[in-house]
């Protein structure tokens, strides 16, 4: 398969692994930001190809994992209303809210539909003029433009039965939060290639400079990730901290300007709670004032969220890279994909699910 097979060629991967061994003289801790990268690392067993001195830790880049529970509860509340159709990407359906999850609600009769593109939601709205259609808009900068486009078109086409429950999060504020947090161990970052395809990496230069941390915009295939680590270690060994673009086949410095324009015309930066981490200033996207008529959170208000009992899940530490999934006492015991204690075990991009799915570590803990 073009654009995939080339980056999985074993001789290329082995060559990169050897080169990495040659340049590594000291221990380094590098965070891969995106859950897609975490999955590639665990799925292809890439940690075994790295020098022992290099420690990879898994970042917060799993949109499902960081969605706060009160937003999931809000989606569940909306789905329970009569004459509503809640549209969501598949990943979100299994994530538990305070009391239940969307998949269970669907089985009990709520009209919840898995979509592959936000534009499908508009077709559903047109076909069901007497129902309220709600798009559960989850994700980073990667999914925000298409969701923005849905709102933009709904307004243009006067589809007043459409609204959007915004749960968008932004990567750079989260990275800054991690780099400045107490006890931060991250010395280099592999930035998320797909996010940078949209945003570009212009705003990473200040981050690299201010925190003296090299940042490499990295893809998702084995050769991408090894090259990303190589370019990071090369800088660390030399004491440099620049932004380098490894994922040149997709990412340009300025990003996708059309997508940014659409995103900026519909959304504005808002403070957002990250599950397990807390509120990070200006780290999310909410609808701009001229689009608040399409805000599902306003159309379907919910009372104060339930307070959650502590079930021992350490997702906050996992999402900040401070603990590995197998270091959690619940992992593989009380917590599994069948009965998840936290979102990282549910999402296809969650670190806990990657460890559970691909490794044999569950027999070791």
């Amino acid at each position: 398969m073009k654009y995939v097979d080339e980056y999985r060629q074993h001789h290329l991967v082995k060559k990169l692994s050897q080169a990495l061994h040659q340049i590594t003289t000291r221990p380094w801790t590098i965070m891969e930001v995106c859950g897609g990268q975490t999955h590639s690392i665990v799925k292809f067993g890439l940690q075994a190809l790295l020098p022992q001195k290099i420690r990879l830790i898994h970042g917060p880049g799993c949109p499902v994992c960081v969605t706060p529970i009160h937003l999931i509860d809000h989606a569940l509340h909306i789905a329970a209303q009569p004459n509503t159709i809640l549209c969501s990407f598949g990943d979100m359906l299994r994530v538990p809210g305070s009391r239940t999850d969307l998949l269970t609600m669907k089985a009990k009769g709520s009209d919840i539909r898995i979509i592959h593109s936000p534009s499908e939601t508009l077709s559903i709205a047109k076909m069901n003029p007497h129902k309220q259609i709600i798009l559960f808009a989850v994700g980073f900068e990667t999914t925000a433009p298409a969701n923005a486009m849905a709102v933009y078109l709904a307004k243009q086409q006067k589809l007043d039965n459409f609204s959007l429950l915004a749960s968008h999060v932004l990567v750079p504020p989260a990275l800054e939060f991690l780099l400045q947090s107490q006890g931060n161990e991250v010395q280099g970052l592999l930035a998320a290639g797909h996010v940078c395809t949209i945003t570009g990496y212009g705003n990473y230069h200040a981050l690299a400079r201010n925190y003296q941390t090299p940042i490499v915009v990295t893809g998702f295939e084995p050769a991408d990730i090894l090259q990303g680590v190589y370019l990071c270690v090369q800088q660390l060994e030399k004491g440099e901290y620049c932004v380098i673009n490894q994922y040149q086949r997709c990412v340009q410095e300025q990003g996708n300007l059309h997508a940014q324009m659409m995103m900026n015309s519909v959304f504005k930066a808002v403070d957002r709670e990250w599950r397990g981490i807390g509120v990070i200033a200006s780290s999310g996207l909410g609808l701009k004032d001229e689009f608040t008529g399409y805000d599902a959170a306003i159309r379907f208000p919910i009372e104060k969220p339930l307070s959650l009992k502590d079930n021992g899940c350490i997702s906050g530490l996992i999402l900040q890279g401070k603990k590995k999934p197998c270091e959690c006492s619940l992992f593989g015991k009380q917590c599994s994909p069948e009965s998840p204690c936290g979102a990282p075990m549910v999402s296809t991009e969650g670190a806990c699910s990657a460890y559970y799915q691909y490794s044999n570590s569950r027999v070791l803990v």
Binding site: M1, K14, V42, F44, P63, V64, H116, G139
Partner: protein, 348 residues
């Protein structure tokens, strides 16, 4: 006034299934006479008795049943009728049996098009005839309309074991070679693309097929088969995990030996699916002694469905904690596990 009277139940030229067709009365009889009897014609069914009295060779009988609820009912490479016949015959073949007789039970929603039912029944006939299998008893029920497009089929099958030794997971031995009969993931992706109306540039066509002819050839040509498993829901990965646990053996397989078509691979990449977990309906794995593995592959490759057959791995040893390790070309490995629920399309 009497001239204008017409009872709705006597209308028989209607083109849809109604609740009357499941009443057990006149319409049921007419439906059977019009659609089922001509297609499945044989002396057992012709009696229209409560059951069929069958003659079987003196050997061990294999009995299996399965229900089919696939949506959409027509998909590239097959339909629910083809699936209902090949699926149960494949289950019999996986026990080393030649299929002889099938039963079929239809549950049809009112509003279902009779023309669609006829098409489905025609597919069933083609598949059954191809293996000289008779559909000897059946049942039809009609349920109230929901979408008007649902049909569910149950088939049960009787077969006779072709060899005098057992073929099941407990016969798997350390050192056995694992043979995969062809590329994986076609059926699941074809059905999903059709269901979700996803248009991919390369066509995705289900692998739905009868596996009995291949199994028969393997056994007739003297291959000692220890175990067979058709790869249906959950795909190759789930089948391997189940077998390793039943056999209490560690398995090791090589990723590069598992054929996956470009069309399936691309669709899986886009949706975030792992092709090893995607459903098949015309593929199986066979566990055979290592010294017979090459010969077995040659035999399977003679069939159009088996052209890409390959040895994908080996049974390592007995284990209290059985695992299936998947080795990739970089020399690292990951472990296969059961999935929790279906694979769902990812966010980004």
């Amino acid at each position: 006034m009497i001239e204008n009277f017409s009872c709705p139940l006597t209308l028989d030229d209607q083109q849809i299934i109604t609740l009357a067709h499941g009443s057990g009365g006149q319409q049921t009889s007419k439906l059977i006479e019009k659609i089922f009897l001509p297609a499945f014609a044989n002396e057992h069914l012709a009696l229209l008795h409560d059951g069929a009295v069958l003659s079987l060779p003196k050997n061990q009988i294999v009995f299996s049943t399965d229900s089919y609820v696939v949506q959409p009912i027509f998909f590239p490479g097959g339909d629910i009728g083809k699936l209902a016949v090949t699926g149960t015959m494949n289950d019999l073949a996986m026990c080393g049996a030649k299929p002889y007789y099938l039963s079929c039970g239809f549950i049809i929603e009112e509003g279902f098009l009779q023309a669609d039912l006829q098409r489905i029944v025609a597919s069933m006939k083609i598949e059954a005839d191809a293996q000289s299998v008779q559909i000897v008893t059946g049942d039809t029920k009609v349920i109230e309309r929901q979408t008007g497009n649902n049909i569910f089929i149950n088939t049960s099958g009787i077969g006779i074991r072709m060899v005098d030794y057992p073929i099941n997971p407990l016969q798997i031995k350390a050192g056995d070679s694992m043979i995969l009969s062809g590329d994986v993931g076609r059926h699941g992706m074809a059905v999903m693309a059709k269901r979700q109306d996803l248009a991919f540039s390369s066509p995705l066509i289900s692998d739905c097929a009868s596996l009995f002819p291949i199994v028969q050839a393997l056994l007739q040509e003297g291959i000692t088969i220890h175990c067979l498993r058709d790869l249906t829901r959950g795909g190759l990965a789930t089948a391997l995990v189940e077998l390793s646990e039943s056999a209490k053996m560690d398995f090791s397989i090589e990723e590069k030996t598992i054929p996956v078509s470009d069309a399936v691979n691309s669709a899986c990449e886009i949706l975030g699916f792992d092709p090893l977990y995607v459903a098949n309906e015309g593929r199986f794995i066979a566990f055979v002694p290592e010294n017979q593995a090459m010969q077995a592959v040659k035999i399977i490759r003679r069939f159009s469905e088996g052209q890409q057959a390959s040895i994908i791995g080996q049974v390592i040893s007995e284990s209290l904690n059985p695992s299936t390790a998947l080795k990739n070309s970089f020399g690292t490995q990951r472990y296969l596990h059961r999935l929790s629920g279906d694979q769902l399309p990812r966010i980004c």
